[in-house]
Symmetry: C2
Subunit: 167 residues, 2 copies
């Protein structure tokens, strides 16, 4: 058992759980290589126009999204917490690189939302069972993330990933 | 270089840096074994009366302090982020076990303070160079931690550790 296997709490957490026709090594590459992230991470017509990745616990990713009107947003930053190649990726919006606490509501914290994302990949036939759990501190922030379009946003991004990397 | 080596920021961070006459293996044991934590972690006449430790990234420690008047405080919880035996221990007050974001101001978050503690131990003769950096999100929370007695509190606790475990 790893650190986050038994932590799911339906009051506080949002889940996207799908079987996709993409081998998990390709899903892992899509999540951990900047040039690939830029291809799928943001639902069109929005784009990800910049991405840096420092893939280690305490390292971070930093992405910049561009609106359909061409306006770049403040960077989104997530600090990696747990990295198990091809299996599991855990990151949080509430820490900056080097594990420094992020300022509450800082623009780098994804829409000001405090959450930890746990992405798990299980081999499933030739594809992957892909599961994202977004863990929040309380019901209110979970509901807010839901209203901001968690299912739609993460689901559409995943559709884009599948379209690019399917078997 | 590990994740937190180059992150020190004098505007946001507090430091305790001392050479102590305790081998670093004993300092490590004092930090990671519940029965030892209870002996030194809280400046007398306060006491630590309970301690649980789950020593892995995403695990946590939970301590209960008792006031001189015999009143138990809400538990203090810290989530481990990086563990290098006998060398480095990193934990944060802003995550709960399993990396879930803590509720801001929750009683488990050490006095409501958002910080990440980086404890590094370097062998120094027969003793240890002992360094704690408390990283905060901004100047205000760093100042507040300072006013709450960071130097005195951490310094006095360290004196207690040294008295118990010195060469």
């Amino acid at each position: 058992m790893t650190s986050t296997d038994s932590q799911f709490d339906p009051r506080f957490d949002l889940v996207l759980d799908r079987e996709i026709d993409v081998p998990r090594e390709r899903v892992w590459a899509a999540w951990t290589e900047p040039e690939r992230i830029k291809q799928w991470f943001t639902p069109a017509p929005w784009q990800t126009v910049a991405c840096e990745i420092d893939l280690r616990p305490g390292g971070a990713f930093r992405t910049v999204m561009r609106s359909p009107e061409g306006e770049d947003q403040p960077p989104t930053v997530g600090c990696y917490l747990e990295i198990v190649e091809n299996e599991k990726l855990v990151w949080t919006t509430i820490l900056e690189p080097g594990f420094r606490p992020a300022r509450p509501g800082a623009p780098g914290a994804c829409h000001g939302l405090a959450f930890t994302a746990v992405i798990t990949l299980h081999a499933h036939g030739n594809g992957t069972r892909y599961r994202v759990v977004a863990m929040h501190p309380d019901e209110e922030s979970s509901r807010r993330h839901d209203e901001l379009g968690f299912q739609d946003g993460w689901g559409t991004a995943l559709d884009q990933l599948v379209a690019l990397y399917r078997n």
